[in-house]
Amino acid sequence: MTAGTYKPWGKLDIARRVGADIPEGWYVNLGIGLPTLVADHIPEDREVVFHSENGILGMGPVPAPDEVDTWLVNAGKENVTLVPGAALFHHADSFAMIRGGHLDLCVLGAYEVAQNGDLANWTTSLNDRVPAVGGAMDLSAGVRNVWIMTTHTTKDGQPKLVERCGYPLTAGKAVTRVYSDLAVLDVTARGFVVTDMVEGLTRDELQKLTAAPLHYA
Protein backbone atom coordinates (compact mmCIF):
# COMPACT_ATOMS: atom_id res chain seq x y z
CA MET A 1 0.00 0.00 0.00
CA THR A 2 1.45 3.37 -0.92
CA ALA A 3 1.57 6.48 1.20
CA GLY A 4 -1.69 8.37 1.43
CA THR A 5 -4.06 5.49 0.76
CA TYR A 6 -5.70 5.36 4.14
CA LYS A 7 -9.12 6.16 5.46
CA PRO A 8 -9.48 7.79 8.91
CA TRP A 9 -11.67 6.00 11.41
CA GLY A 10 -15.16 7.45 11.65
CA LYS A 11 -16.79 8.59 14.87
CA LEU A 12 -18.49 5.25 15.35
CA ASP A 13 -15.26 3.37 14.69
CA ILE A 14 -13.55 5.37 17.40
CA ALA A 15 -16.45 4.91 19.81
CA ARG A 16 -16.36 1.17 19.15
CA ARG A 17 -12.63 1.01 19.88
CA VAL A 18 -13.04 2.94 23.13
CA GLY A 19 -16.00 0.80 24.13
CA ALA A 20 -14.10 -2.40 23.47
CA ASP A 21 -11.24 -1.24 25.70
CA ILE A 22 -13.36 -0.48 28.79
CA PRO A 23 -13.11 -3.41 31.21
CA GLU A 24 -16.10 -4.88 32.95
CA GLY A 25 -17.05 -3.14 36.15
CA TRP A 26 -15.50 0.22 35.41
CA TYR A 27 -17.25 3.41 36.53
CA VAL A 28 -17.18 5.76 33.57
CA ASN A 29 -18.04 9.40 32.90
CA LEU A 30 -18.57 10.31 29.25
CA GLY A 31 -18.03 13.94 28.30
CA ILE A 32 -20.51 15.78 26.11
CA GLY A 33 -20.23 15.50 22.33
CA LEU A 34 -18.28 12.65 20.76
CA PRO A 35 -17.63 10.68 23.97
CA THR A 36 -21.38 10.23 24.51
CA LEU A 37 -21.31 7.80 21.57
CA VAL A 38 -19.29 5.31 23.58
CA ALA A 39 -22.33 4.39 25.73
CA ASP A 40 -23.84 2.53 22.78
CA HIS A 41 -20.65 0.62 22.03
CA ILE A 42 -19.95 -1.38 25.16
CA PRO A 43 -19.93 -5.10 24.33
CA GLU A 44 -23.30 -6.50 25.35
CA ASP A 45 -22.01 -9.03 27.84
CA ARG A 46 -20.05 -6.42 29.77
CA GLU A 47 -21.38 -4.33 32.67
CA VAL A 48 -20.06 -0.79 32.85
CA VAL A 49 -21.61 1.86 35.10
CA PHE A 50 -22.09 5.34 33.66
CA HIS A 51 -21.82 8.42 35.86
CA SER A 52 -23.16 11.90 35.28
CA GLU A 53 -21.85 14.95 37.13
CA ASN A 54 -25.34 16.07 38.12
CA GLY A 55 -25.83 13.17 40.47
CA ILE A 56 -26.43 9.91 38.59
CA LEU A 57 -24.70 6.54 38.65
CA GLY A 58 -26.20 3.94 36.34
CA MET A 59 -27.41 5.79 33.26
CA GLY A 60 -29.03 3.57 30.69
CA PRO A 61 -29.85 3.73 27.00
CA VAL A 62 -31.47 6.71 25.28
CA PRO A 63 -35.20 6.76 26.08
CA ALA A 64 -37.79 5.97 23.44
CA PRO A 65 -39.60 9.19 22.45
CA ASP A 66 -42.76 8.15 24.28
CA GLU A 67 -40.91 7.05 27.40
CA VAL A 68 -39.03 10.22 28.25
CA ASP A 69 -38.82 11.09 31.95
CA THR A 70 -38.34 14.85 31.91
CA TRP A 71 -37.17 14.76 35.56
CA LEU A 72 -33.99 13.03 34.49
CA VAL A 73 -31.21 14.78 32.59
CA ASN A 74 -27.50 14.09 32.16
CA ALA A 75 -24.59 16.53 32.26
CA GLY A 76 -25.43 17.54 28.69
CA LYS A 77 -28.94 18.44 29.88
CA GLU A 78 -30.41 15.68 27.73
CA ASN A 79 -33.17 13.38 29.00
CA VAL A 80 -31.75 10.00 29.95
CA THR A 81 -32.78 6.72 31.59
CA LEU A 82 -31.66 4.71 34.60
CA VAL A 83 -30.75 1.03 34.77
CA PRO A 84 -31.53 -1.29 37.70
CA GLY A 85 -28.92 -0.53 40.36
CA ALA A 86 -28.84 3.19 39.59
CA ALA A 87 -28.34 5.72 42.38
CA LEU A 88 -29.17 9.42 42.65
CA PHE A 89 -27.22 11.91 44.78
CA HIS A 90 -26.34 15.59 44.98
CA HIS A 91 -23.60 17.55 43.25
CA ALA A 92 -21.14 17.58 46.16
CA ASP A 93 -21.36 13.80 46.51
CA SER A 94 -21.06 13.45 42.74
CA PHE A 95 -17.80 15.40 42.62
CA ALA A 96 -16.55 13.61 45.73
CA MET A 97 -16.62 10.52 43.52
CA ILE A 98 -14.79 12.34 40.73
CA ARG A 99 -12.19 14.19 42.76
CA GLY A 100 -11.72 11.30 45.19
CA GLY A 101 -10.46 9.01 42.43
CA HIS A 102 -13.43 6.65 42.54
CA LEU A 103 -14.21 6.80 38.83
CA ASP A 104 -12.10 4.53 36.69
CA LEU A 105 -12.40 6.48 33.48
CA CYS A 106 -13.59 9.66 31.87
CA VAL A 107 -13.67 10.09 28.13
CA LEU A 108 -13.33 13.69 27.00
CA GLY A 109 -12.78 15.78 23.88
CA ALA A 110 -9.72 17.99 23.46
CA TYR A 111 -8.36 21.06 21.73
CA GLU A 112 -4.84 19.90 22.48
CA VAL A 113 -3.07 17.09 24.31
CA ALA A 114 0.61 17.43 25.19
CA GLN A 115 3.05 14.55 25.30
CA ASN A 116 3.25 14.81 29.11
CA GLY A 117 -0.52 14.39 29.38
CA ASP A 118 -1.41 18.06 29.73
CA LEU A 119 -4.94 18.66 28.50
CA ALA A 120 -6.48 21.79 26.96
CA ASN A 121 -10.17 21.36 26.28
CA TRP A 122 -12.13 24.12 27.96
CA THR A 123 -11.38 27.37 26.17
CA THR A 124 -9.23 28.62 23.34
CA SER A 125 -8.74 31.92 25.13
CA LEU A 126 -10.15 33.67 28.16
CA ASN A 127 -11.14 36.55 25.90
CA ASP A 128 -12.67 34.96 22.84
CA ARG A 129 -16.15 34.52 24.29
CA VAL A 130 -17.84 33.78 27.57
CA PRO A 131 -15.46 31.53 29.51
CA ALA A 132 -17.11 28.35 30.78
CA VAL A 133 -15.50 25.28 32.32
CA GLY A 134 -18.24 22.97 33.65
CA GLY A 135 -16.86 19.78 35.18
CA ALA A 136 -13.88 19.32 32.84
CA MET A 137 -11.20 20.43 35.31
CA ASP A 138 -12.55 18.20 38.08
CA LEU A 139 -12.84 15.19 35.80
CA SER A 140 -9.38 15.52 34.32
CA ALA A 141 -7.76 16.17 37.71
CA GLY A 142 -9.67 13.50 39.61
CA VAL A 143 -10.42 10.47 37.47
CA ARG A 144 -7.90 7.62 37.34
CA ASN A 145 -7.86 7.24 33.57
CA VAL A 146 -8.51 10.14 31.21
CA TRP A 147 -9.01 9.07 27.63
CA ILE A 148 -9.40 11.57 24.83
CA MET A 149 -11.53 11.09 21.71
CA THR A 150 -10.59 13.54 19.02
CA THR A 151 -9.71 14.09 15.42
CA HIS A 152 -5.95 13.89 15.05
CA THR A 153 -5.81 17.42 13.64
CA THR A 154 -8.05 20.49 13.59
CA LYS A 155 -10.27 21.24 10.62
CA ASP A 156 -7.39 23.40 9.37
CA GLY A 157 -5.00 20.47 9.57
CA GLN A 158 -3.17 21.71 12.68
CA PRO A 159 -1.95 18.92 15.00
CA LYS A 160 -3.86 18.50 18.24
CA LEU A 161 -1.18 16.29 19.76
CA VAL A 162 1.64 18.60 20.71
CA GLU A 163 4.85 18.94 22.70
CA ARG A 164 3.33 21.60 24.90
CA CYS A 165 -0.19 23.01 24.94
CA GLY A 166 -0.69 26.49 23.58
CA TYR A 167 -4.28 26.81 24.74
CA PRO A 168 -5.17 27.32 28.39
CA LEU A 169 -4.80 24.11 30.37
CA THR A 170 -7.69 22.12 31.80
CA ALA A 171 -5.35 19.97 33.88
CA GLY A 172 -1.69 19.06 33.88
CA LYS A 173 -0.47 15.49 33.29
CA ALA A 174 -3.99 14.16 33.13
CA VAL A 175 -4.42 12.29 29.86
CA THR A 176 -3.52 8.63 29.86
CA ARG A 177 -4.63 7.64 26.34
CA VAL A 178 -5.75 9.25 23.08
CA TYR A 179 -8.14 7.74 20.55
CA SER A 180 -7.86 9.86 17.41
CA ASP A 181 -9.30 9.19 13.98
CA LEU A 182 -5.84 8.02 12.92
CA ALA A 183 -4.31 6.24 15.88
CA VAL A 184 -4.51 5.08 19.46
CA LEU A 185 -1.74 6.47 21.63
CA ASP A 186 -0.79 5.89 25.26
CA VAL A 187 0.64 8.82 27.15
CA THR A 188 3.72 7.50 28.93
CA ALA A 189 6.84 8.79 30.63
CA ARG A 190 8.46 8.63 27.16
CA GLY A 191 5.66 10.66 25.59
CA PHE A 192 3.13 9.42 23.02
CA VAL A 193 3.38 5.71 22.31
CA VAL A 194 1.35 4.54 19.32
CA THR A 195 -0.41 1.25 20.00
CA ASP A 196 -2.63 1.12 16.92
CA MET A 197 -3.11 3.09 13.73
CA VAL A 198 -5.33 3.31 10.69
CA GLU A 199 -4.59 0.74 8.06
CA GLY A 200 -2.49 2.12 5.26
CA LEU A 201 -1.12 5.05 7.24
CA THR A 202 2.65 5.15 7.54
CA ARG A 203 4.59 6.12 10.63
CA ASP A 204 6.07 9.06 8.72
CA GLU A 205 2.66 10.32 7.72
CA LEU A 206 1.32 10.04 11.28
CA GLN A 207 4.41 11.87 12.58
CA LYS A 208 3.83 14.72 10.12
CA LEU A 209 0.32 15.18 11.50
CA THR A 210 1.58 15.17 15.10
CA ALA A 211 3.55 18.01 16.73
CA ALA A 212 5.36 15.80 19.21
CA PRO A 213 7.68 12.85 18.70
CA LEU A 214 5.90 9.51 18.37
CA HIS A 215 7.16 6.32 19.94
CA TYR A 216 6.21 2.73 19.27
CA ALA A 217 5.78 -0.01 21.79
Partner: protein, 236 residues
Protein backbone atom coordinates in the same frame (compact mmCIF):
# COMPACT_ATOMS: atom_id res chain seq x y z
CA UNK B 1 -46.15 24.46 66.23
CA UNK B 2 -43.34 24.73 63.72
CA UNK B 3 -44.81 25.59 60.35
CA UNK B 4 -42.41 26.80 57.67
CA UNK B 5 -45.05 26.82 54.96
CA UNK B 6 -45.98 30.34 53.84
CA UNK B 7 -49.10 31.27 51.92
CA UNK B 8 -47.65 32.61 48.73
CA UNK B 9 -44.51 33.37 46.81
CA UNK B 10 -44.47 37.00 47.89
CA UNK B 11 -44.30 35.95 51.53
CA UNK B 12 -41.67 33.37 50.67
CA UNK B 13 -39.40 36.11 49.32
CA UNK B 14 -40.20 38.89 51.75
CA UNK B 15 -37.19 40.68 53.13
CA UNK B 16 -34.88 40.00 50.18
CA UNK B 17 -33.18 43.27 49.33
CA UNK B 18 -30.85 44.84 46.78
CA UNK B 19 -27.32 43.49 46.87
CA UNK B 20 -28.24 40.08 48.26
CA UNK B 21 -26.25 36.99 47.35
CA UNK B 22 -28.54 34.24 46.07
CA UNK B 23 -27.87 30.54 45.58
CA UNK B 24 -30.08 29.09 42.82
CA UNK B 25 -30.56 25.32 42.58
CA UNK B 26 -31.23 23.32 39.45
CA UNK B 27 -29.37 21.65 36.61
CA UNK B 28 -30.74 21.74 33.10
CA UNK B 29 -34.50 22.06 33.23
CA UNK B 30 -34.74 19.96 36.42
CA UNK B 31 -34.96 21.32 39.95
CA UNK B 32 -35.03 24.99 38.94
CA UNK B 33 -36.93 27.27 41.34
CA UNK B 34 -38.34 29.22 38.40
CA UNK B 35 -41.45 30.54 40.11
CA UNK B 36 -39.36 32.02 42.90
CA UNK B 37 -36.96 33.53 40.37
CA UNK B 38 -39.77 35.12 38.42
CA UNK B 39 -41.26 36.62 41.55
CA UNK B 40 -37.86 37.89 42.61
CA UNK B 41 -37.57 39.67 39.28
CA UNK B 42 -40.98 41.21 39.72
CA UNK B 43 -39.95 42.58 43.11
CA UNK B 44 -37.42 44.69 41.24
CA UNK B 45 -34.42 43.91 43.47
CA UNK B 46 -31.09 44.97 41.99
CA UNK B 47 -27.39 44.13 42.22
CA UNK B 48 -27.90 40.50 43.12
CA UNK B 49 -24.92 38.16 43.16
CA UNK B 50 -26.24 34.85 41.86
CA UNK B 51 -24.49 31.54 42.46
CA UNK B 52 -25.69 28.74 40.18
CA UNK B 53 -24.23 26.16 37.83
CA UNK B 54 -25.31 28.01 34.69
CA UNK B 55 -26.39 31.56 33.94
CA UNK B 56 -29.89 30.59 32.91
CA UNK B 57 -31.06 29.29 29.58
CA UNK B 58 -34.16 30.67 27.82
CA UNK B 59 -34.55 34.45 28.15
CA UNK B 60 -38.17 34.13 29.25
CA UNK B 61 -37.69 31.56 32.03
CA UNK B 62 -36.18 31.60 35.51
CA UNK B 63 -32.61 32.79 35.87
CA UNK B 64 -32.33 33.84 32.22
CA UNK B 65 -35.30 36.11 32.75
CA UNK B 66 -33.98 37.49 36.04
CA UNK B 67 -30.71 38.42 34.35
CA UNK B 68 -32.60 39.92 31.39
CA UNK B 69 -34.45 42.17 33.78
CA UNK B 70 -31.16 43.62 34.96
CA UNK B 71 -31.44 42.31 38.51
CA UNK B 72 -28.08 40.52 38.58
CA UNK B 73 -24.74 42.30 38.77
CA UNK B 74 -22.53 39.26 39.32
CA UNK B 75 -22.68 35.56 38.42
CA UNK B 76 -20.61 32.89 40.14
CA UNK B 77 -21.04 29.75 38.05
CA UNK B 78 -19.32 26.96 36.16
CA UNK B 79 -20.90 27.11 32.73
CA UNK B 80 -22.47 30.44 31.67
CA UNK B 81 -23.20 29.38 28.12
CA UNK B 82 -26.51 29.00 26.34
CA UNK B 83 -28.06 32.07 27.94
CA UNK B 84 -28.76 34.94 25.56
CA UNK B 85 -29.62 37.25 28.48
CA UNK B 86 -26.29 36.61 30.14
CA UNK B 87 -24.41 37.00 26.85
CA UNK B 88 -25.99 40.39 26.24
CA UNK B 89 -25.22 41.74 29.69
CA UNK B 90 -21.74 40.21 29.78
CA UNK B 91 -20.69 41.65 26.45
CA UNK B 92 -22.05 45.05 27.48
CA UNK B 93 -19.89 44.87 30.63
CA UNK B 94 -22.98 45.02 32.79
CA UNK B 95 -22.48 41.77 34.65
CA UNK B 96 -19.43 40.47 36.44
CA UNK B 97 -18.46 36.80 36.06
CA UNK B 98 -16.55 34.41 38.31
CA UNK B 99 -16.05 31.05 36.61
CA UNK B 100 -15.60 28.15 39.03
CA UNK B 101 -15.07 24.50 38.10
CA UNK B 102 -18.31 22.63 38.73
CA UNK B 103 -16.92 20.34 41.42
CA UNK B 104 -15.14 23.19 43.19
CA UNK B 105 -18.39 25.16 43.08
CA UNK B 106 -20.29 22.27 44.66
CA UNK B 107 -17.63 21.71 47.32
CA UNK B 108 -17.39 25.44 48.12
CA UNK B 109 -21.15 25.55 48.65
CA UNK B 110 -21.14 22.46 50.84
CA UNK B 111 -18.24 23.91 52.82
CA UNK B 112 -20.16 27.17 53.21
CA UNK B 113 -23.03 25.24 54.72
CA UNK B 114 -20.82 22.96 56.82
CA UNK B 115 -18.77 25.59 58.65
CA UNK B 116 -15.60 24.91 56.65
CA UNK B 117 -14.07 28.29 55.69
CA UNK B 118 -11.58 26.85 53.19
CA UNK B 119 -10.20 23.62 51.76
CA UNK B 120 -7.65 22.38 49.29
CA UNK B 121 -8.53 20.73 45.98
CA UNK B 122 -6.53 19.27 43.09
CA UNK B 123 -8.95 20.79 40.57
CA UNK B 124 -7.63 23.73 38.57
CA UNK B 125 -3.98 23.53 39.62
CA UNK B 126 -1.74 25.10 36.99
CA UNK B 127 -4.65 26.57 35.04
CA UNK B 128 -5.79 30.13 34.43
CA UNK B 129 -8.47 29.61 37.08
CA UNK B 130 -5.68 29.21 39.67
CA UNK B 131 -4.67 32.85 39.20
CA UNK B 132 -4.37 34.61 42.53
CA UNK B 133 -5.01 31.43 44.49
CA UNK B 134 -2.66 29.79 46.99
CA UNK B 135 -1.07 26.57 45.75
CA UNK B 136 0.17 24.15 48.37
CA UNK B 137 1.76 20.73 48.24
CA UNK B 138 0.47 17.80 50.27
CA UNK B 139 2.29 14.53 49.74
CA UNK B 140 3.60 14.74 46.19
CA UNK B 141 0.76 16.69 44.69
CA UNK B 142 -0.20 20.36 44.37
CA UNK B 143 -3.59 21.68 45.47
CA UNK B 144 -5.42 25.00 45.36
CA UNK B 145 -6.94 26.73 48.35
CA UNK B 146 -10.65 27.39 47.80
CA UNK B 147 -13.09 29.17 50.12
CA UNK B 148 -16.49 28.16 51.43
CA UNK B 149 -19.38 29.89 49.72
CA UNK B 150 -22.49 30.72 51.74
CA UNK B 151 -25.09 33.26 50.70
CA UNK B 152 -27.88 35.43 52.06
CA UNK B 153 -30.56 33.44 50.28
CA UNK B 154 -30.92 29.97 48.78
CA UNK B 155 -33.73 29.27 46.31
CA UNK B 156 -34.51 25.59 46.03
CA UNK B 157 -36.99 23.42 44.15
CA UNK B 158 -38.12 20.23 45.89
CA UNK B 159 -40.50 17.40 45.09
CA UNK B 160 -42.00 17.00 48.60
CA UNK B 161 -41.83 19.20 51.68
CA UNK B 162 -43.44 18.94 55.11
CA UNK B 163 -44.11 21.72 57.60
CA UNK B 164 -40.71 21.22 59.24
CA UNK B 165 -39.05 21.78 55.86
CA UNK B 166 -37.91 18.19 55.32
CA UNK B 167 -37.38 17.73 51.58
CA UNK B 168 -37.18 15.08 48.89
CA UNK B 169 -36.21 15.55 45.25
CA UNK B 170 -37.28 13.79 42.09
CA UNK B 171 -35.00 12.28 39.46
CA UNK B 172 -31.96 14.46 38.85
CA UNK B 173 -33.68 17.36 40.63
CA UNK B 174 -31.41 16.84 43.61
CA UNK B 175 -28.34 18.32 41.89
CA UNK B 176 -27.22 21.51 43.72
CA UNK B 177 -30.43 21.88 45.75
CA UNK B 178 -29.50 20.05 48.98
CA UNK B 179 -26.10 21.73 49.36
CA UNK B 180 -27.53 25.15 48.55
CA UNK B 181 -30.21 24.61 51.19
CA UNK B 182 -27.33 24.11 53.65
CA UNK B 183 -25.49 27.25 52.57
CA UNK B 184 -28.33 29.76 52.50
CA UNK B 185 -28.73 31.98 55.54
CA UNK B 186 -32.39 32.14 54.46
CA UNK B 187 -33.44 29.04 52.51
CA UNK B 188 -36.67 29.30 50.54
CA UNK B 189 -38.19 26.22 48.92
CA UNK B 190 -40.77 25.91 46.16
CA UNK B 191 -42.23 22.45 46.60
CA UNK B 192 -44.31 20.48 44.12
CA UNK B 193 -46.06 18.72 47.00
CA UNK B 194 -46.60 19.66 50.61
CA UNK B 195 -47.12 16.51 52.68
CA UNK B 196 -48.08 15.92 56.32
CA UNK B 197 -45.33 15.75 58.90
CA UNK B 198 -44.20 12.14 59.11
CA UNK B 199 -45.19 11.29 55.54
CA UNK B 200 -41.55 11.26 54.50
CA UNK B 201 -39.87 8.28 56.22
CA UNK B 202 -36.78 9.32 58.26
CA UNK B 203 -34.45 7.41 55.94
CA UNK B 204 -35.88 9.13 52.85
CA UNK B 205 -35.42 12.72 53.98
CA UNK B 206 -32.73 14.16 51.70
CA UNK B 207 -32.63 17.68 53.13
CA UNK B 208 -33.53 17.78 56.84
CA UNK B 209 -35.73 20.72 57.78
CA UNK B 210 -32.99 22.31 59.85
CA UNK B 211 -31.65 23.72 56.58
CA UNK B 212 -34.98 25.17 55.45
CA UNK B 213 -36.66 28.42 56.51
CA UNK B 214 -39.68 28.82 54.24
CA UNK B 215 -41.72 26.46 52.08
CA UNK B 216 -44.21 27.56 49.45
CA UNK B 217 -46.43 25.11 47.59
CA UNK B 218 -45.85 25.51 43.85
CA UNK B 219 -47.35 22.58 41.93
CA UNK B 220 -45.82 23.71 38.66
CA UNK B 221 -45.73 20.29 37.05
CA UNK B 222 -43.14 18.44 35.02
CA UNK B 223 -40.09 20.10 33.49
CA UNK B 224 -40.26 20.64 29.73
CA UNK B 225 -38.88 17.87 27.56
CA UNK B 226 -35.17 18.34 26.93
CA UNK B 227 -33.09 17.14 24.08
CA UNK B 228 -32.96 13.38 24.17
CA UNK B 229 -29.43 12.10 24.57
CA UNK B 230 -27.60 11.81 21.27
CA UNK B 231 -24.01 11.79 20.20
CA UNK B 232 -24.08 15.52 19.61
CA UNK B 233 -24.79 16.33 23.23
CA UNK B 234 -25.62 19.70 24.64
CA UNK B 235 -23.99 22.30 26.81
CA UNK B 236 -22.64 21.67 30.28
Amino acid sequence: MIDKQVEDVAQALSGITDGASVLVGGFGAVGQPNVLLDALGEMGVKNLTVIANNAGFEPDIGLGRLIGRGCVSKMICSFPRGSSSFDTFYRAGKIELEVVPQGTLAERIRAGGAGIPAFYTPTGVGTQLAAGKETRTFGKRDYLLEHGLAADIALVEAWEADRWGNLTFRGSGRNFNPIMAMAGRLTVVQAQHVVPLGAIPPNDVVTPGIFVDRVVHVPCGDPPIAKVATAQGGTK
